[in-house]
Each structure stands twice: as C-alpha cells, then as structure tokens.
C-alpha cells in the first residue's frame, strides 16, 4: 500500500497559504490577530512534521552520549543537573553544547524567525 497524496504537509501548507493570502488581508483588529495566530500554528505543525524524526533521533542519541540510558534518561539527567553533577569541568561543557543543539532545533520548529534574529544578536556581541 502507499499513502494517499497530496500528503499532510501539502494539506497544511495550502490551508495556511489560503488564510494568509485570501483571508488575513481583509481583516482588522482581533479577527486579524486570530487568523495570524492560526497561520502560525499551522506553520509550526508543518515544520514539526518535517523536523520531528530527526529531533527524536538526536535527542535519544544525546542522552546516550551523556551516559543516560534506560527507562527515563531525561529524568535522570535533570536530577543530576539539579544535584550539581554538571556544575564544572568537561561534563559541564559537553552538556551545554548538547542542550544548545537541542534548543536550536526546537526553535527552528517553534519560531525560526526569532532564532535567526537572536543568533545574529548573540554572535555579534563583543566577547566579555
């Protein structure tokens, strides 16, 4: 069997485009805001569909890389952070790198425009 096409991403993208091009321009005030938020929700869902498989894999690999396996590796990780196990040294650096990578991927789903501006800001600050 093969999945029906057009696929879910096609459906969502077309719905967002129709709202963006045909509906939003004629609205004002709160109604316009509502439609813009609806578009944003659909766009986020689209990006989520695209990035989710990669993100799941990276998150699982990151936890293994930090030495967390078993039933609830993320719970064990948060417990150790709270207990100060990652306060210093190489462990601290590698955890920060892994967290940053994860957060950047998640921002690319939830708010890529924000991420672009924020990264530009942080990358252009003089080092203290």
């Amino acid at each position: 069997m093969i999945p029906d096409t057009p696929g879910r991403k096609d459906l969502l993208e077309t719905a967002a485009a129709a709202l963006r091009e045909e509906i939003a321009p004629s609205l004002k005030g709160e109604q316009r805001l509502t439609v813009l938020m609806a578009i944003s929700a659909i766009d986020t869902a689209c990006r989520d569909l695209e990035v989710a498989p990669e993100l799941d894999q990276i998150q699982a690999e990151s936890l293994v890389g930090l030495g967390f396996e078993g039933d609830d590796p993320a719970v064990s990780l948060t417990r150790e952070i709270r207990n100060g196990e990652f306060d210093k040294g190489a462990g601290s650096k590698s955890l920060h790198e892994v967290l940053m990578k994860d957060v950047i991927l998640r921002c690319q789903i939830s708010n890529p425009r924000y991420l672009m501006v924020a990264e530009d800001d942080w990358n252009n600050r003089p080092t203290d």
Binding site: S40, A74, I81, L95, H96, S110, A118
Partner: protein, 346 residues
C-alpha cells in the same frame, strides 16, 4: 458561576454598591467585555450613582474571575488591597473604588476601578513609537513608578494573605512549579542550577509588582496612564522587578530597546535611582534577567499543561505552550559553562 453578562448579577452588584457607597441608587449600564485575560474578565461599565459621596457618573472597569478561571494568583479582593496600597503610595494606577467580596451569596468577587484610557498591548506599545509620548521619558517614568511601589515595605504595610517576607521564595517557587509539571526540562534545570550557584546576597524586601513589564501598563499618546495587573504582587527583592522589565523576553522583538522594548536601560535606571535613593546593581539585574526567562518558560509550560489537561483550548494558549524553546535559547546563552554574573548591558 454567573458572569457579569447576567442581568441578575448586575442587579445584585447595583444593590451591593448602593449600600457600600451609602447612595440612594446605583445603575450599571453600557457594560462591554474588554479583551485579554484568560483568568479574569474585565468589563467597561458606566455607573450612575444617585446620592452619597460618590454621586455622579463614573466610568469604570469591573474586574471579576472568569467562570473557567483557575486560582493561580491572588483573589480579586486581595488584588484590590494591593491596588489600594499602590494608589495611596502615589503610583499611577486605575483608582480602586469598591470591592464586593461576595456577590449575592455566589462567592463571586467584583472589583470596581475607575477606567483608565490608553493601550496596554505589549506588541503595539513596543512597536508603535507614536504611543507613550517621548519614549525615554516613558521608561524614566516607569523607573520612578517602580520606586514608589518599592516604597511599600513590611515595615509600612501588612498584607495577611501574603507569605512572610523571605528572599528564599523566588528560586524555591520555580523548582516547586517545575516539579509539579512532572516533565523533565534539562535546559531549565541548567538555568536554575546557574541561579543557585550565582545567587547574590539577598537585599531588603519590599512590595514587588512581580509582573512589571510592557503589556501590563497602559499608555496614551502623551505617556503612562496606568499600571495594571497586580495579581502577582508579593514581598520580594527590588531587582526582581527591574530584571523582569529589562529581560529580553519582554521586549516584544525590539531587542535594542533594553527597557521593555521601549527605551534605554539608562533612562529606566535613572528614574528608579532618583526616586528610590537605591543604586541599580547591573550584576543583580543580570541575575534576575536569567530568572525572568526561567520564570516565563515555566509559566508557558504551565499553560501548555493546562491546555493538554482540559483547560481552555485557545490559539493563544496553544502557541504559548511552544514558547519555552526560544526562552531556553536565551537562558543557555546567558549561562555559558563556567560563566558567572556579568553586568546586564545587552
């Protein structure tokens, strides 16, 4: 529970107000629900008061809990007492006029405030430079106003419904709220751990507004018209409020305008320092800016959690549930490995 759209509820309010103000009669008309507020409802209303001290026509806002409201903040009656203290301290707020603490035996609380005109919407206030008058003057005024709020202290006031003043609450509360969500959030844990390791010595405790940011004050073309949303006010350290207003997460995309997305840090600090006699400590501000991102991330998680567990399913809330990623990005940038406090300057 009845809403203020219910004629019986309005009738009960009229009777209650007439008694409270020793008036012959009070008539409520032109009620119109105002936008914003998932937990509280705000209604614009005209009150015609015959007789007594309040005799005349009053333009008011009636504030009450929405029927689906969740009790996560102060009750309306408690908020009224805080608002009253602020008004008496000279803070620019909507004048509190009355508080009915049990409408017609329903337990519903209604606060009556004088209506303030202007716009509060954060996005709009941050972006539309025709609002708020001179923007540097506006943030300086915000500094001065904050100093007036901070003039209310445990030595001058008692609020029986607030916890005993303590500098320990801030971080403890964040851990408690995070644990209640039962979701592992490594980036937030990282940030919290940084707070624990970099906590400056506690300073004096004052009344903090605790949600002092763009979006929670109203402006017109000339300047500030009112400081709103007192439901989180609490005893705390002065720099909590300063760092909340200057934090990146409350600049509504205007990253360069470090005071609330509106004006400069210097003007805001200047107003605060002149009116309070306290010095703003840029490293403390940095600490509370990190805290601000963590607190907002946890609030966003709470909203997402409420959505999932059968709370209000609105677009606003579902999108807020996805906000933590960008907040975590700023948290991680501000708390690089081995890095301690820095002066807040970006």
């Amino acid at each position: 529970m009845s809403s203020l759209s219910d004629p019986d509820a309005l009738k009960a309010l009229e009777t209650w107000l007439a008694r409270d103000w020793r008036a012959d009669a009070v008539r409520v008309s032109d009620t119109k629900k105002l936008s914003g507020g998932a937990i509280q409802e705000n209604w614009a209303a005209t009150l015609e008061v015959s007789g007594g001290e309040m005799h005349g026509i009053l333009d008011t806002v009636l504030r009450t809990d929405s029927p689906s409201g969740v009790a996560v903040s102060h009750s309306r009656a408690q908020e009224y007492l805080l608002l009253k203290a602020a008004f008496e301290a000279g803070v620019i707020v909507p004048e509190p006029l009355a508080c009915c603490d049990d409408l017609d035996g329903t337990g519903k609380q209604v606060v009556v405030m004088r209506r303030v005109t202007g716009i509060a919407l954060g996005q709009k206030v941050a972006r539309d430079t025709s609002l708020g008058g001179d923007r540097e003057a506006l943030v300086e005024t915000l500094g001065r106003q904050l100093a007036l709020i901070h003039s209310i202290t445990p030595a001058t006031h008692t609020f029986p419904f607030l916890r005993a003043p303590s500098a320990d609450h801030a971080i403890d509360d964040m851990y408690r709220h995070l644990d209640a969500l039962q979701q592992p959030r490594p980036a937030i844990e990282w940030g919290l751990r940084w707070l624990v390791n970099n906590r400056p010595a506690p300073e004096e405790i004052v009344l903090i507004h605790n949600d002092y940011r763009t979006g929670n004050y109203m402006v017109d073309e000339a300047g500030l018209t009112g400081i709103l949303d007192w439901e989180f006010a609490d005893w705390g350290e002065p720099h909590v409020d300063i760092g909340w207003l200057t934090a990146m997460c409350w600049r509504f995309g205007q990253r360069q305008n470090q005071a609330g997305g509106v004006g400069s840090r210097d003007a805001f600090y200047k107003g605060y320092e002149e009116a309070s006699g306290r010095k703003v400590d840029p490293e403390r501000v940095y600490f509370w800016e990190v805290f601000a991102h963590i607190r907002w991330a946890i609030i966003a998680l709470q909203q997402g959690d409420r959505f999932l567990k059968g709370g209000e399913r609105t677009l606003d809330i579902v999108l807020t549930g996805r906000r933590p990623a960008e907040l975590e990005y700023e948290i991680l940038q501000m708390t690089k490995p081995g890095q301690g406090l820095l002066p807040a300057q970006h």
